[in-house]
């Protein structure tokens, strides 16, 4: 089997991993070496599905000992198997890197023989790159659940970023679909990596040249749409991960059916791309806009509104905060206005120092007035000829057809009605979901 075949098989097996970022660390080549990294990350290409290609994303091996039902590399799947030798993979990385095809290496692996053996193979690859080639480019290594912590630690000294995939957002889903993994086997290495990062940061204060452990932090990913977990559960889990494990990123991947299994969506089911998109929008709101998961969704509204983005949805339900005046509102409040992003809010704060802003000026700053005009005033005035009602806002954001569907699915002006078991006759439109929650005492 030549390197062409191996690359094809092992790329194909790795493509469902989402993370392809090269951000979070700034460095340049050491003397006699090659490679640098930019904190903002660099995209080198974009695949036909529109995803950024920044790293050479491959598996070390797809000969996996585990049998996770959602995974294309599961033991019981009849698919060609291949493994890179550490030297082959290191050489390929350097040759791609020299030609500026990639920013570095993303190496993951199926469990080849045992977790420890797999981890040793990855360490050897990274050692060749770092020590023989003196490679300073970006390396993202996947921690193999179940590997010895000494090996994880060694891997972390060589890599820039590590990740442990949560894969499924709840313990029950894991039990069902990934019998060889458990919540513990996933969270243990994640906690271990976080502890080492913290230890390392105190070491670096004490010793000037303490080697860095995973300088770009750790990330994780979970599959959306393979199990009945709701957006609310996923977003809460995400928030918990950011807080508890200080993750740099949580990635979501819309489930793409790769196997026929009674427990999974049928083959040919379209991946829930819109849902994935809404989750990413909410993820951004958590990380950069000061929102909390409970503001965006609550037990009564477990799913994102497909018609409106989470921020706009929040604003429409909290019209008491608006309109706010762009010339006076603090930065944190500006961030909550639909149509104003981080860049826009920063520019507004900068620009209003020298002169007061009007709607024309806002447009030049890159504020999306189509959205923002319903939520702001400039010097106490609203935009000319504008009527601020929820209906007007919705009308401007959606087509006539979408608006109709939106109203059918979710009556907008009705508050979530208080459910009472004593008035069952007046609640003819109870949905199955409502009933279930009522019985389990969630309301």
């Amino acid at each position: 089997m030549d390197v062409f075949d191996k690359l094809k098989i092992l790329t194909d097996a790795a493509k469902y991993d989402v993370a392809c970022t090269s951000s979070g660390v700034d460095k340049k080549a050491s003397a006699g070496g090659i490679g640098s990294a930019a904190a903002c990350g660099i995209c080198h290409s974009f695949a036909g599905d529109g995803r950024c290609i920044s790293l050479l994303k491959v598996l070390m091996s797809n000969a996996c000992a585990y049998d996770c039902k959602y995974c294309v590399n599961r033991r019981s799947n009849d698919t060609p198997r291949a493994s890179f030798t550490p030297r082959e993979l290191a050489d390929l990385t350097i040759q791609f890197y020299r030609r500026n095809y990639i920013e570095g290496l993303f190496v993951s692996s199926g469990v080849l023989k045992t977790p420890d053996y797999t981890c040793e193979q990855m360490i050897e690859t990274l050692r060749i790159l770092r020590e023989e080639y003196r490679f300073s480019g970006y390396i993202h290594a996947k921690a193999i659940p179940g590997a010895d912590s000494a090996l994880i630690s060694r891997l972390g000294m060589l890599a820039d970023r590590m990740s442990v995939n949560i894969e499924l957002p709840s313990q029950s889903s894991l039990q069902l679909l990934a019998p060889d993994k458990s919540k513990h086997s996933i969270l243990a290495p994640m906690g271990y990596i976080q502890n080492r990062i913290q230890e390392n940061s105190t070491d670096m204060v004490k010793y000037q040249h303490a080697p860095k452990f995973v300088p770009a932090g750790q990330s994780t990913q979970m599959i959306v749409g393979a199990t009945p977990d709701t957006d609310f559960q996923i977003l809460n889990l995400t928030e918990g991960l950011y807080k508890k494990y200080q993750l740099k990123r949580v990635f979501f991947s819309a489930y793409m059916p790769v196997a026929e299994n009674a427990l999974l969506p049928a083959m040919g089911t379209k991946p829930p791309l819109l849902r994935e998109h809404r989750l990413y929008q909410a993820d951004w709101l958590l990380r950069f806009y000061g929102f909390t998961a409970n503001e965006l969704l609550d037990p009564a509204h477990q799913s994102f509104n497909p018609y409106i983005d989470p921020k706009c949805n929040w604003a429409l339900n909290h019209m008491e905060n608006f309109p706010m005046d762009v010339n006076h509102a603090p930065y944190d409040d500006l961030l909550r206005v639909p149509g104003i992003g981080v860049t826009g809010a920063k520019r507004i704060v900068t620009a209003r120092r020298s002169s007061s802003l009007n709607f024309d000026g806002l447009k030049k700053l890159g504020v999306v007035l189509k959205r923002a005009q319903y939520f702001i005033t400039c010097g106490g005035k609203i935009a000319d000829g504008l009527k601020i009602t929820q209906d007007a806002v919705l009308r401007s954001l959606m087509s006539e057809k979408a608006l109709g569907m939106y109203h059918l699915n979710l009556p907008l002006n009705s508050e979530p009605e208080q459910l009472s078991l004593f008035e069952p006759a007046t609640q003819p439109q109870l949905t199955q979901e409502d009933i279930q929650k009522c019985l389990t005492g969630q309301i």
Binding site: V3, F4, L7, K8, T11, D12, A14, K15, Y16, K28, A29, A31, G32, G33, I34, G35, S36, A38, C40, I42, C43, H44, S45, F46, A47, G48, D49, G50, R51, C52, I53, S54, L56, K57, L92, Q95, F96, R98, R99, N100, Y101, E103, A254, M256, K270, P271, L273, R347, T350, A351, R353, S354, S355, L357, N358, D360, G361, L362, K364, L365
Partner: protein
């Protein structure tokens, strides 16, 4: 002060030359309606006033910018000069005149038309620089890395530091086909020189096989079920595809063995100080 509606400056195309126009504008108390680079066709009937480049004058202006407006403003103006904004010279003059009036806060006046136009142009320049850090594709030819790019803005000065830090031990050559300029580097020395008629040589067997491997990787990494050409196009506009290996850049026929062909201009300004931030100023563009 005359509004200069019938006055046009012509300068030599260098950053120093433009600064001399700023000097002239102040010393003669006049504002030209346009500042023309040397080889443009004149579109007005008014006579163009030739502004000679005198380093004594330009250095005075150069020193005054950080003093009155701060270092960030000078960096911004240098970048603005690299953009392909039509009439960038005139906008820079107007911007500097505002800067002399109101100091560093000129950088905050984002709602002003002149400032806004320049900010947009510089943003485009910065974006294009960032994209080309990723999209430049090297071929290994005679152990030298060779790349061709075709940017709208003159980005080579801004790419210099990035690639020098990335490949400190390599020899490389980045040819900007749009501006007929090239960045050349050998360990610890670089220069930006005018080059014309460069042709990418035929790849050898090893180079061809790595190109093929990359195309294979590119094809395989896509998840077919999520095919989304529109998304790809918005992240990677089609004008960059021409030189991307993954789309099978055509192998041009080789005329000679070496990677370099007919380099004009002198190389005396090879610099040792590449680790300093590259100066934002392009070498004179029209030396040929």
């Amino acid at each position: 002060m005359p509004d200069g509606s019938n006055l046009v400056y012509r300068y030599d195309g260098s950053f120093d030359g433009l600064l001399c126009c700023v000097f002239e504008s102040y010393s003669k108390k006049e504002i030209p309606s346009d500042i023309l680079p040397p080889d443009t066709l004149q579109t007005t009937l008014f006579p163009a006033k030739e502004i000679p480049t005198e380093l004594e004058k330009s250095n005075r202006v150069l020193a005054s910018i950080p003093q009155t407006m701060g270092d960030a403003t000078l960096d911004f103006v240098r970048r603005a000069f690299l953009t392909y904004l039509p009439q960038k010279e005139w906008y820079i003059l107007m911007f500097l005149r505002m800067g002399y009036r109101c100091g560093p806060s000129v950088m905050n006046m984002l709602a002003d038309d002149v400032v806004n136009t320049l900010f947009k142009a510089v943003k485009h320049l910065n974006n294009e620089t960032q994209l080309l850090k990723g999209f430049a594709r090297f071929s290994v030819i005679n152990n030298t890395l060779v790349a061709e790019i075709e940017p709208k803005n003159f980005v080579l000065p801004l790419l210099t530091r990035h690639f020098c830090e990335r490949y400190p031990e390599e020899r490389f050559f980045i040819y900007d086909t749009a501006h007929s300029m090239a960045l050349i580097y050998q360990p610890y020395q670089y220069a930006i020189i005018p080059v014309d008629n460069f042709e990418m040589p035929e790849p050898d067997e090893e180079e061809a096989s790595f190109r093929e491997l990359w195309r294979l990787f590119y094809k395989t990494i896509e998840i077919q079920g999520r095919h989304n050409p529109k998304c790809r196009m918005s992240h990677m506009p089609k004008r960059y595809w021409k030189y991307l290996t993954e789309f099978g850049a055509p192998n041009k026929s080789a005329r000679d063995n070496g990677p370099f062909k007919k380099i004009s201009g002198d190389r005396t300004h090879l610099r040792q100080d590449f680790l300093l931030p590259p100066s934002g100023e392009p070498k004179a563009r029209k030396e040929d």
